[in-house]
């Protein structure tokens, strides 16, 4: 139970990789990458958690607070989230264009670039 958030985030990363190996649909692959990104974001945020801490915002902070959660991982995660969204959007645009040319999204059939 102790390190459950870390373990869960790593499980999410693993799930995403599994999707990338097993699944063949391009949009499913994008979903797999999204899942990996979720895992990484969870990993980063849970790295900075301090037991009993409050959110790192001084506005309306309870008067006698002891600890604050670490702010750096949150800033990093913010960046990572937007990067993830950008990646997803670009991959989906590629997928749509590929479908326009080939009429399929099956990665097993989209293999013009082999050899």
């Amino acid at each position: 139970m102790g390190n459950m958030p870390f373990v869960v985030s790593m499980i999410l990363v693993g799930l995403g990789f599994l999707a990338l190996i097993v699944r063949r649909n391009l949009i499913k692959l994008a979903i797999g990458i999204s899942v990996i990104e979720m895992g990484v974001n969870l990993f980063l945020v849970s790295l900075g958690y301090v037991r009993g801490g409050i959110a790192p915002i001084y506005t309306y902070a309870p008067p006698g607070f002891k600890e604050m959660v670490f702010p750096t991982p949150q800033a990093l995660t913010l960046t990572a989230i937007v990067i993830g969204l950008a990646t997803t959007a670009l991959m989906l645009a590629f997928a749509v264009v590929i479908y326009r040319h080939r009429g399929t999204l099956d990665a097993g059939k989209i293999r013009e670039l082999k050899g």
Binding site: L20, V22, L26, A107, G108, R111, K114, G115
Partner: protein, 108 residues
């Protein structure tokens, strides 16, 4: 202008002078050749094993190393199958590379 590797050295200037010398020798040999060659006569037409080549025939790029490619065919076939173009394979091999590197770092 030379670079050394501890054992040997490489100097392009010396090499260029030597190469010029070799070229000069080659030119001299070329000058000794037959003088009867004329442009525009049938001497210029290509032929293969004594046969006239049909019109439009040429030596394509793929023909150059045909024998070589034929000899290496089993290996090349296998390599071609390795480059399957399937994205799942790409990711799988990335995982293999990752595991290899992690194992190497962990073990030594």
């Amino acid at each position: 202008m030379r670079i050394g590797s501890g054992e040997g050295f490489w100097s392009p200037i010396v090499w260029a002078i030597l190469a010029l010398g070799v070229l000069a020798i080659g030119f001299a040999i070329w000058l000794q050749g037959r003088r009867t060659y004329k442009r525009g006569t049938e001497q210029e037409e290509p032929f293969l094993s004594g046969e006239r080549l049909p019109e439009g025939a040429g030596v394509g790029a793929t023909h150059l190393y045909w024998g070589f490619a034929e000899a290496l065919k089993p290996l090349l076939m296998r390599l071609g199958a390795f480059h399957s173009g399937f994205l799942g394979d790409y990711v799988g091999w990335l995982l293999v590379l990752l595991v290899i590197s992690i194992l190497v770092v962990m073990l030594g």
